[in-house]
Amino acid sequence: MSSANPLKPSERMKIPRQEPIEQAAAERMTNFLEVSFGFDDERSVIEAKRCLDCKQPLCIDGCPVGIDIPAFIGLVLKKDYVGAVNKIREANYLPAICGRVCPQESQCEELCVLGKKLTPVAIGKLERFVADFEMQQNLFTPPVIAEHREEKVAIVGSGPAGLTCAAELARKGYQVTIFEALHAVGGVLRYGIPEFRLPKEILDIETERIKALGVQIYLNFVIGRTATIDELFGEWGFKAIFLATGAGTPTFLGIPGENLSGVYSANEFLTRVNLMGAYRFPDFDTPIRIGKTVAVIGGGNTAMDAVRTAKRLGAEHAYLIYRRSRSEMPARQEEIHHAEQEGIELLLLTNPTRILADNNNWVCGIECQRMELGEPDDSGRRRPVPVKGSEFVVEIQTLVEAIGQKPNPIIQSTTPGLDTSKRGTVVTNEQQATSRPGIFAGGDLSRGGATVILAMRDGKQAAAAIHDYLEKT
């Protein structure tokens, strides 16, 4: 591949990292269009020239699904964008999604050699460009499925883990059916991640590509209610099942006032907007309430999504309340940066203690206390300790709690012999196998809350394990 790049390493290192085209903050605050438009072909080729094409590429080690990154970048350099996206697709069937939502800065790009002294190659933006190019030019051709296998495999949940597992197994020739509880495909990609980070049209197109592999999808089908796992094995005739129902149950802080009107879980807030289209009320029937001042509690990507959504829905002030400091925030740097550009006000080292109500049982304020950082806790992050007598009240009309989700218990409670942890996650071994033969699990259901790409890694791992399992039985 290196032959395609005429530049010497020293020359490649002189090229600055290309910047994506972005909507200006003042403008994007008023709409739900994508913040980043990514690279164009010119920027992509320049960026591809920066890759040193290392003999032992570390970037691949940083990719949870093991994309051959130098190979696809080599194809970008040759302007073979379709070749590049097909190279990615060998390892990752959702390139347009991953190019947008993967935390590349802590994965492939973190290990890029260039990043040690300079800035790493913009691998994520290149991935996105080739995937978008293929979509825009309508150049997708489904891969040829070499073998036909009779065995039926059920996938429960159509989020990133489920979609990936389905694509992998369908490409191996299995008869794959996905069961989705909601009325639309995508799981957290649909209800959780906002339009301005992942347009639903992209999700729809990637889903169509999975359907093109012969994958059948049942919507409005709640496993554990509409049919049980044992019925899928029995009368439905499935030989293996992959559980990928995510972590969809919201948790609450347990402070007074959480049942007041105007208090949302991040799940409800984002589901109303993303899945139900509440940002287009009354063209869409589902309403949402946005006060002049909105506060979101939490420091992760979900909190960022919620607070940036609130701003776009017209909040004059949108606060993010987080009890630790900025460096402990689990959200992606890019998201925090974007949020600040959009005028999101961060209330750091701030811990909510009580939600205050007006006469109509509506939230009207949140009482908080200041925190300071003490000794590191089990997670290695410095534990926040309250500062005595530091209580203060922020006037708000809408509150969103984004403090984490746990798995939905419906399947676990209706499937005998399926081991779960104290946190409610389904226990698996390294091959994603559960305590019951033929049942595999992955994504947030077994991890308890992680990223899209780690869910995809599990889906891929589970597909390989299901293949081994079916070969042996």
């Binding site: 909601l182 009325h183 209610r225 949302y264 109303r272 029937d285 309403p287």
Partner: protein
């Protein structure tokens, strides 16, 4: 898509639908509900399953046209389709042999009560039923309730049929009659269920109520349906929808349910205008 195989108007604004949903028909039990979305751009709303026929693969929903979504649904004709139906959701009603039970239905809640009353009777209980409505034309399922069989009383607010007054007046008479009551099952508007629970509390009679709350997904994902039961936070969709009426914080729930009142009015108003516009076009 889920086809409407039969439509029957039970009362002005109250319509009975039989809808093709074979998987749900096979599984549903008394007390379960479904989430439905009538059309694209629509809301998801919970509706209790009133009955089901596994052989024909249909479920029965009895719907009162109150807001935009229920009005839209009630405008659908036999042969038309509903976009999304998912279920059966929620926990089924615990059906046990108790002895003498009283089933109290208010308004369209009577429809949700019917399968429970039937199941209680099948489990060997002696069933008394009180059907409450604003006026005679809104009394539904009286014949079906009697046929269960159950001793059936009707109360109307305006006295146009049966006893003039509230369901609690009739319930109090039964509780005072000396015929011991093992349990009360009450389904209807929140103020009615609150009044029933307040009454039975003083008689120490176990009372189960079915809570109608704000819901988005109906599977435990949004938490919009959270209610306070005996001081603890519960989700009506997965922990309920039925709870011990003596432990429910009705006041909080009634306030919560008012969260979107004005927006619901906007949606409803808009729908009425659309209908009016449509009619005009048809005339032209």
């Amino acid at each position: 898509m889920y086809r409407i195989v039969r439509k029957q108007v039970l009362a002005p604004t109250i319509t009975r639908f039989e809808i093709e949903a074979p998987f749900i028909a096979k599984k549903r039990k008394a007390g379960n509900f479904v989430m439905i979305r009538v059309e694209n751009h629509g809301e998801r709303i919970p509706l209790t399953i009133a009955d089901g026929d596994p052989a024909r693969g249909t479920i029965t929903l009895i719907v009162q046209a109150i807001g935009k979504t229920t009005k839209l649904l009630c405008s659908k004709e036999q042969g038309e389709e509903v976009l999304d139906v998912v279920g059966p959701l929620g926990n089924p009603t615990p059906i046990e042999h108790i002895g003498h039970v009283v089933c109290v239905g208010g308004g369209v809640g009577t429809a949700e009560l019917y399968p429970i009353a039937k199941a209680l009777c099948d489990a060997g209980n002696t069933v008394s039923t009180i059907i409450g409505a604003r006026s005679h034309d809104l009394v539904i399922l009286e014949h079906e309730m009697r046929a269960i069989p159950s001793t059936t009383y009707v109360t109307t607010d305006d006295g146009s049929y049966g006893r003039r007054g509230f369901v609690t007046d009739q319930l109090k008479d039964i509780l005072d009659s000396g015929n011991p009551v093992g349990a009360v099952f009450a389904i209807g508007p929140l103020p009615m269920m609150k009044a029933v629970s307040d009454l039975t509390r003083s008689y120490k009679v176990h009372t189960l109520v079915s809570l109608n709350t704000i819901m988005v997904d109906g599977t435990g994902m949004c938490g919009g349906c959270r209610v306070t039961i005996g001081g603890e936070m519960k989700f009506a969709c997965v922990d309920g929808p039925e709870f011990d009426g003596h432990k429910v914080d009705f006041t909080e729930l009634m306030m919560r349910n008012r969260t979107y009142v004005d927006m619901e009015r906007i949606a409803d108003e808009r729908y009425r205008c659309q209908l009016a516009g449509l009619t005009q076009e048809n005339v032209q």
